[in-house]
């Protein structure tokens, strides 16, 4: 006796299985090959190399796994919704004594099982393997759980999107294509909108949005973040689950109102058609602006791009809706589109929200970041969590002042010129909101004074320089090298590392505005190996780094790492300004080929060398009158030399006697 009230229909299940079961099967076999077989292959190898350090089950056959997460649910949904898209099938199914909800729930549950079953069977196999084989180096139960969870959430989301799209259209091909368009849409439209808004407005923080946020907007682009992170942001996964549920709910409602006769029509609901036409045209228009903006950097071309691509988009949308090429007589909606878009553009250009001139009042600002290397800034924010920004009132005032100047000096065209430098200002406001602006400026040098004041601030140094952000425990070793690289000391002791780091930080914080513009003599560098992300951090050592030099002295390392006067064999001093020929050929020519020429003096007396060496102050200006070139040759190392531009005024008097 058949249970009439049950949602389960055995014959429908059989039918579904005959139609879509193969996808499930192929998915299962592929997961077996990509993961289970892969693990067996790795067990055979004893080299630890194979095990790597970050184990995550998604790394096994990762390309296939990611591909399948997006392809399998869409294909399954396409086949399961096929009965809505095929005229005779849809008539047949809807003539049967089955309620729509029942059929819908049946299809969803079946589809859900058929895409998840392969994953869970493989999960079960992995679980058994974990208990019976020596695979603990490859994965643990936590990794297995993570893999199952993330795969389930992503598969469900993609499946829900595809089902939803399937109900909005009457064509399977449109369902397939638009499933992916929908999945990419939030990211795509943001990129296009931000990029195009930049043509009309100054200050849009495109780097902030495009480099940092935009990838998180689409599950497709975000999947890389989710899958290859060992721990995905739980809130993202929760959001995906919520969206999945909402989409299933909406789909169910849509199905109740969906007319059966729309099978084979591109857009199933009449009210959706204008929305489809206008939004499709709008997106195409933005693509046109994007394309010509990148290629031509010119407003006339961009306007041309808008017009051309909006016509393309409009015609394509009409073609999709009417399923014919012959749509060239229908222009009424395009006219409305042009009117609407023109109005929108005018509103944007008039900046009715006051976006462009908004600078928060000082008392509303909790902290502010100013930076010109946005990708590095966000990398640090990601790696080291939130780093405090500028909070000192006078510094905030400088930033606000700079902000006003940027607004005044910016031009809409600046965005199109890729030679321009970009500066960003990121305010964290007292009310918890953020205000981020970015300016594309052709010449930053005219702000040097104020910019350098910010650069010299402790806060700026602390959020832009890695040395303040890394944790001492993330450093596995350090090496200190002389400027001439003839000496090097490796430091492994964590105590020493901690002290050196502390000293360096103090020195960098102590660097004044003047020292930033015009640093003192470069003595060598510290190379910090950061184990956290396997990279090196190089820091210069300047003669003004009192704390660090003191520390070297304390550790009795000074002589082991820095150039000592007693290692110098001879020095040359060249006054390029002495005659035309000298200036033309350059100091190096004379040192190498004609050391006896006028204006070149050689110093080899030990005492004089010491005196001279200690009085070297680098000159970084361009005026040749105030500088000499100094050559240093080491004893026993004829090939190894170094030279500097030095300030004339600081040299000992005997130099002037000889010259």
């Amino acid at each position: 006796m058949r249970l009439r009230t049950s949602w389960y229909n055995h014959e429908l299940t059989k039918q579904n299985f005959r139609q879509t079961g193969w996808i499930s099967l192929v998915y299962f076999v592929s997961l077996l090959v990509a993961i289970v077989l892969n693990i067996f292959m790795r067990i055979g190898h004893n080299e630890s190399y194979y095990y790597g350090y970050d184990i995550n089950l998604f790394y096994l056959g990762s390309f296939f796994q990611v591909l399948a997460i997006f392809l399998v649910p869409v294909m399954t949904a396409m086949l399961l919704m096929r009965y809505l898209h095929q005229k005779n099938a849809t008539d047949f199914m809807h003539s049967l004594p089955l309620k729509r909800e029942k059929v819908f729930i049946h299809q969803i549950v079946f589809g859900y099982c058929s895409i998840l079953l392969p994953v869970y069977i493989v999960g079960f196999i992995l679980y058994i393997m974990h208990h019976t084989l020596e695979v603990s180096k490859l994965y643990g139960l936590a990794e297995l759980g993570y893999w199952l969870g993330v795969t389930t959430v992503l598969l469900s989301l993609v499946f829900a999107v595809s089902i939803f799209v399937g109900l909005l259209t009457g064509l399977s091909i449109i369902q397939g294509v638009f499933s992916f368009i929908f999945l990419l849409f939030p990211a795509g439209i943001t990129v296009l909108a931000v990029f195009n808004l930049n043509y009309a407005m100054i200050g849009i923080a495109d780097s902030y949005l495009m480099d940092e946020k935009v990838f998180e907007f689409s599950p497709i682009t975000n999947s890389v973040n989710i899958i290859f992170n060992d721990a995905a942001d739980t809130s993202t996964l929760v959001w995906y689950i919520i969206v999945t549920l909402i989409l299933f709910g909406l789909s169910m409602v849509l199905y109740k109102f969906r007319p059966v006769e729309v099978a084979t029509q591109a857009v199933a609901f009449r009210w959706l058609r204008p929305i489809f036409i206008y939004s499709f045209t709008f997106c195409f228009m933005l693509v046109g602006g994007f394309y010509f903006g990148i290629l031509q950097h010119e407003y006339n071309w961009i306007l041309f791009g808008y017009l051309l691509f909006s016509i393309f988009g409009y015609l394509i949308a009409q073609m999709i809706i009417h399923k014919t090429w012959r749509v060239f007589t229908q222009w009424k909606e395009y006219l409305f589109f042009l009117l609407g878009t023109t109005l929108l553009v005018v509103l944007i250009i008039l900046d009715i929200t006051g976006f462009q001139n908004r600078i928060p009042a000082t008392d509303r600002i909790e902290q502010v970041y100013l930076y010109d290397q946005h990708s590095r800034f966000y990398l640090y924010q990601d790696l080291f969590e939130e780093n405090p920004g500028i909070t000192a009132v006078e510094e905030i005032e400088i930033v606000r002042n700079l902000h006003q100047q940027f607004i005044n000096d910016s031009n809409r065209q600046d965005f199109l010129d890729y030679n321009n430098q970009t500066v960003s200002i990121h305010y964290d406001l007292v009310n918890g909101r953020q205000l981020v602006r970015q300016y594309h400026l052709d010449d930053l040098s005219k702000y040097t004074g104020e910019l350098t004041k910010i650069h010299a601030s402790d806060a700026y140094k602390q959020y832009t320089q890695e040395v303040f952000l890394i944790d001492q425990t993330d450093i596995s070793s350090m090496s200190v090298t002389s400027d001439m690289r003839h000496k090097e000391v490796q430091i492994y002791s964590s105590n020493q590392i901690a002290e050196a780091l502390e000293a360096l930080r103090k020195d960098i914080l102590a660097q004044s505005y003047e020292e930033l513009v015009n640093p003192e003599l470069y003595l060598g560098e510290v190379n910090i190996f950061i184990s956290l992300y396997h990279s090196n951090l190089y820091l210069p050592i300047y003669s003004t780094y009192d704390y660090f030099l003191e520390w070297l002295e304390k550790e009795k390392m000074t002589e082991d790492v820095l150039l000592m006067p007693n290692e110098i064999d001879r020095m040359f001093i060249v006054d390029e300004s002495i005659n035309e020929e000298m200036a033309e050929k350059g100091a190096s020519y004379y040192v190498e080929h004609n050391p006896n020429a006028e204006g070149v003096i050689e110093i080899s007396d030990e005492e004089e060398i010491k005196q001279l060496f200690e009085s070297l102050v680098p000159e970084r200006g361009e005026e040749s009158d105030s500088r000499f070139a100094v050559w240093i040759y080491l004893k026993d190392e004829e090939e190894n030399f170094q030279w500097y531009w030095v300030k004339k005024d600081f040299l000992p008097s005997f130099v002037f006697d000889e010259i």
Binding site: R4, P97, P259
Partner: protein, 299 residues
């Protein structure tokens, strides 16, 4: 009884059905006639509960059909091109019907198997069009529906099978009071089984008749008089058609024969014949009466 009241349906902006009202009595076979594009299929699909009407009502024994599962278990719709799941054999399709329609009768299924002689293990979609249609009837009749809705059902069936299927339908109507609606663009195809006929044209009925009434009500009369024919002989009857061949008048008259006979006898005609009318002729004249030429409406 199926009653359709003031039904309206539009696709996009074009109206396919404009205010259709029709009643089909229990145990009768209703012939829905109309040219291509008249709205027959749409009407049938709404009656079968597949499409939803924009306004108006379709009810079976006072119950609305749309999304009504218990009612739809007793209705089967066979479209002009019957649908079967891809790759399904006749047996698999039968299993599906069996689980879907609670009145499924296995004995009936096997009896029909003997009669039609098709291989159960054959995939339905590999069969010829005519055979597929037979399978559709076979499955439909095995499900023992109370209502059978057929869209152009005899297209593509050969004469022998057509006869077989018609007999099966008539048998069910006679035995179990099954109600049938059958559409066609060809009057001759359905005249032998229908007891009611309606003609749909541009989305509304232009004519609806009980065939028995029709046949008994319309008369083709050949009449000739020695002298001038009496004036206003048929003034109490509706004259659908009148023509003169030599001295013989050919008149199609609508009305009660019992009243007609004495009237004509009294006028003392030289010739008086009452000729039988084919259904087609009846329609030709009826339609002239309402201002249509039948060639424009039926094949």
């Amino acid at each position: 009884m199926i009653s359709v009241t003031d039904l309206k349906k539009s696709f996009e902006r074009s109206e396919v059905l404009s205010s259709v009202t029709v009643n089909v009595n229990k145990g009768s076979i209703y012939g829905l006639l109309g040219s291509n594009g008249a709205g027959k299929t749409t009407l049938l699909k709404i009656i079968a509960g597949i499409y939803k009407q924009d306004s108006g009502q379709v009810s079976y024994e006072k119950e609305n059909v749309f999304e009504n599962v218990s009612l739809k278990e007793r209705i089967i719709f066979i479209p002009d091109f019957p649908y079967f799941f891809p790759q399904y054999t006749i047996k698999q399709m039968a299993d599906f019907y069996q689980s879907t329609y609670p009145n499924w009768n296995n004995t009936r299924f096997h009896t029909l198997h003997q009669l039609l002689g098709l291989d159960l293990k054959k995939k339905v979609q590999q069969l010829s069009k005519g055979m597929q249609r037979q399978v559709a009837f076979w499955l439909a009749l095995s499900a023992m529906p109370d209502y059978l809705i057929l869209d152009e059902p005899f297209d593509g069936l050969d004469a022998v099978i057509r006869k077989k299927v018609k007999n099966l339908i008539i048998q069910d109507v006679a035995d179990r009071q099954m109600t049938v609606i059958v559409s066609s663009h060809n009057l001759r195809e359905v005249e032998d089984i229908c007891d009611h006929v309606g003609i749909l044209h541009h989305g509304s009925f232009i004519l609806e008749k009980d065939l028995d009434d029709l046949k008994s009500d319309i008369h083709k009369i050949q009449i000739a008089f020695k002298d001038t024919p009496p004036k206003e002989l048929f003034k109490d009857f509706t004259v659908l058609h009148k023509e003169k061949r030599g001295s013989v008048f050919l008149v199609i008259v609508k009305g009660d024969r019992k009243k007609l006979d004495p009237l004509i006898q009294n006028s003392q005609p030289v010739v008086y014949d009452l000729l039988p009318l084919t259904l087609e002729e009846i329609f030709v004249y009826e339609m002239e009466g309402v201002g249509y030429a039948i060639e424009n409406i039926l094949v």
